[in-house]
């Protein structure tokens, strides 16, 4: 009896082995086309990790049409994107992230610098990134983690930022913007010209800032400087004393009931403003557009102290190599070739390669979004919905004026740990 059992066991195992081998062979040869995983092994697929800013469905569809590369979006918040790169570097291929995260990402060794020579349009990337000036030659404020400070690495696997141009690029720039305060002109009823207004007691209980510490403290610093309380050497890299001072000003305002709420997420900022809970708050350009498209007046108010800017771009995971790396280059090159740039410009962001984006936009669109001219025709969003009626002018005007007016960039400070602790104290106050 035992013998029989053993025999059966052996033969069953052999049978299983044989079947598995056959199945593997069939799968490998492509004979079985019904298996989804066989299909995806043949198709060009890139897992794209990023925040929702760039992740338009239209961009993915057009990319598939033009290049045959299928983009699988993995969407996360700014903080979670960074966390994911640190803890699961093999869970994505292409990374879309902000320049200020690089101070954390590059030393971790989890991302791979791209080769500038393989980027077709690299030479045409706006000088905002490479030289820190606008195409018209205006110098841009460099406080904080300005992109040109962290654009290049010293070598392929280097963890040090190069001070001059090399061929190893940390992030190939894609999109950026200049942020300022959003206001409800219908409820404020007077001109707003300075960041100091955020803490004006006139708006008690009607102001708001971002609850993302690294961005929120920059807005706070703009306010402190505008009110003449202190002048920072570098708002994006404060000393402990400067952090204390900034948080003290904010804490006093919070205790006095200046803030209605802090927001963390795009939709929260839209809700606060649209419902009239706040009338002045730090905001993002498309959020202002969204409030306006609901028929509620909202202005992305240019202020005399300038804008707080941010920028993001592409790199790849260190786990990407071979054919996949080539697709990643193909994708980045496609992204800079115009369609995506025009798409981003139409949302109120700016594209990294202006010339190709311009070729994909109507002249009247370009004139409205980039040159600050009154709209000749109705301005439509990428999805076709009406954004502005003919005759409207973009808040802050032209690209030159807006990017030229940038005072500082989103940043990770050397004293980040201390800053986060102080931020918790601020919330608890």
């Amino acid at each position: 009896m035992t013998e029989t059992t053993r025999k059966t066991g052996v033969s069953r195992r052999t049978l299983l082995k044989g079947t598995a081998g056959l199945a593997g062979l069939a799968a490998g040869s492509g004979a079985i086309t019904g298996f989804p995983y066989v299909k995806s092994a043949d198709a060009k697929v890139l897992r794209y990790l990023g925040t929702a800013v760039n992740e338009g469905d239209d961009i993915a569809k057009q990319c598939l049409k033009d290049t045959g590369i299928k983009i699988e979006y993995i969407t996360a918040t700014t903080d979670d994107v960074t966390k994911r790169v640190m803890t699961q570097p093999n869970s994505f291929d292409v990374l879309d992230t902000e320049y200020f995260s690089l101070k954390k990402l590059v030393p971790s060794g989890n991302i791979l610098a791209l080769d500038a020579k393989k980027i077709k349009e690299f030479g045409n990337i706006t000088p905002v990134f490479t030289k820190g000036e606008t195409p018209g030659g205006k110098k841009i404020g460099g406080q904080g983690t300005a992109p040109w400070k962290v654009l290049y690495l010293e070598g392929k696997d280097s963890k040090k930022f190069a001070t001059s141009a090399t061929e190893f690029v940390t992030l190939i720039p894609t999109v950026y913007n200049a942020d300022t305060l959003g206001i409800r002109p219908d409820l404020i009823k007077r001109p707003i010209t300075t960041w100091a207004e955020l803490l004006n007691p006139e708006f008690k209980g009607k102001a708001s800032i971002l609850n993302i510490p690294s961005i929120g403290i920059m807005d706070a610093a703009m306010v402190v400087e505008a009110s003449g309380k202190y002048k920072y050497a570098d708002k994006g890299n404060m000393t402990k004393e400067e952090i204390d001072l900034t948080m003290k000003v904010m804490t006093e305002a919070k205790k006095a009931g200046q803030f209605r709420a802090f927001w963390k997420d795009f939709n929260e900022s839209v809700n606060l403003m649209a419902s009239g809970e706040t009338v002045i708050q730090s905001m993002w350009s498309p959020a202002v557009t969204k409030v306006r498209s609901m028929g509620i007046p909202c202005t992305f108010q240019p202020l005399k102290e300038g804008y707080r800017s941010w920028a993001s771009g592409f790199c790849v995971s260190k786990g990407v190599s071979g054919a996949k790396l080539e697709w990643a280059y193909e994708f980045v090159n496609w992204f800079l070739s115009g369609f995506a740039g025009a798409y981003l410009n139409r949302q109120g962001y700016y594209s990294a390669v202006l010339s190709t984006a311009k070729a994909h936009m109507e002249p009247y669109e370009w004139a409205y979004w980039m040159e600050g001219k009154p709209a000749e025709k109705d301005i439509k969003a990428p999805d076709g919905s009406l954004l502005e009626k003919a005759g409207a002018v973009r808040d802050g005007g032209s690209y030159e004026d807006r990017m030229g007016g940038v005072a500082c960039w989103n940043a990770v400070m050397d004293e980040n740990d201390y800053m986060v602790r102080k931020w918790n104290e601020f919330i608890a106050a």
Partner: protein, 317 residues
């Protein structure tokens, strides 16, 4: 072990097993069987709760920099957390303020959910006679869970906001001249939202305890001349205690660790123990976050121990 299981199920099946074995099918001791029954849950608990928890405790004693954990012993996570607690006296430090606030919210929510939950359960258990209606009405209590957490919280704005329904209504009736601001983004709105969410967790266990109260006990109390109030205090509440304690544990543990509801309803301006952990995790300061998690766990554990001192749940069940 698998052989023994088989043996238990069908003693004659295993080849070569003699008649002697088959004659003694009850070889397994009852305690072994109960271990077997509890085993799978224990393994899950071990793998997905205890081991990760041990890791959290270990990591809380590590050091860190901007981008990685440094596996070297360091009390930095803890010392940073209690920063200024002695130096700032008599003023309270961040962590003390945060926990006072969290405990205050927790107490308010607990007291209100207990009060409402008790009477809802009382109504369901003693006033609703038919089982079908009892079921139907308990299901009604789950309505707040039919929408997602985020949607539910966004929906409070049109109701409680400056230009919301309540303020507009009050202004139209002439009760107030200016919109009331404390309705939203305040402790009031936090407590309201938490009560709205978690009363259900009180209702179910209390109801469960109450339906098991022998009706003849209440009749006996009535016959012995007890008033309604006396029956409530001396018969119903003591017998419903296990439900009350279980419901309280649910509510307290959830509220102690909550940061989403407190964040959204408090306009991100109200400190919470969970919020500190979230901020630290988002800044990639995992050891500091872990240290705060350990502190939160210790405090919550303390509260629960105190509560189970009042009622021995094991005995009552």
């Amino acid at each position: 072990m698998s052989e023994e299981v088989l043996q238990q199920a069908a003693p004659g099946l295993i080849p070569g097993s003699g008649t002697a074995r088959a004659a003694k099918p009850t070889r397994l001791s009852p305690s072994f069987i109960s271990w077997l029954q509890a085993g799978p849950m224990m393994l899950v608990f071990l793998a997905f709760f205890l081991i990760p928890l041990v890791f959290v405790v270990i990591v809380s004693f590590w050091d860190y920099n901007e981008y990685q954990l440094l596996p070297a012993f360091s009390g930095r996570g803890y010392t940073d957390t209690f920063e200024g607690c002695i130096a700032q006296l008599p003023e309270l430090c961040t962590i003390a303020k945060t926990y006072l606030k969290t405990l205050k919210l927790c107490f308010l929510v607990w007291a209100i959910t207990l009060f409402i939950g008790f009477w809802v359960a009382y109504f369901l258990a003693f006033h609703v006679k038919s089982k079908t209606w009892q079921m139907g009405l308990s299901l009604l209590c789950t309505i707040p869970f039919w929408t997602s957490n985020v949607i539910r919280m966004i929906a409070w704005i049109p109701l409680l906001g400056r230009n919301g329904l309540v303020n507009t209504g009050l202004m139209k009736t002439g009760l107030i001249n200016h919109p009331v601001e404390w309705l939203l983004f305040s402790e009031f709105s936090v407590v309201l939202a938490l009560v709205h969410l978690f009363t259900f967790f009180m209702v179910v266990p209390i109801f469960n305890s109450m339906v098991r109260i022998d009706k003849s006990l209440i009749e006996a109390a009535y016959d012995a001349g007890a008033s309604g109030f006396q029956t409530l205090v001396n018969v119903i509440i003591p017998l419903a205690k296990p439900g009350i304690v279980i419901g309280s544990i649910f509510v307290i543990t959830i509220v102690m660790g909550d940061f989403i509801t407190i964040g959204v309803m408090g306009g991100q301006q109200i400190a919470a123990a969970g919020k500190i952990i979230e901020t630290r995790v988002n800044a990639l300061q995992f050891p500091a976050a872990a240290a705060n998690a350990v502190i939160l766990l210790a405090i919550t554990f303390l509260i629960i121990t105190m509560m189970s001192r009042i009622v021995d749940i094991k005995k009552e069940l």
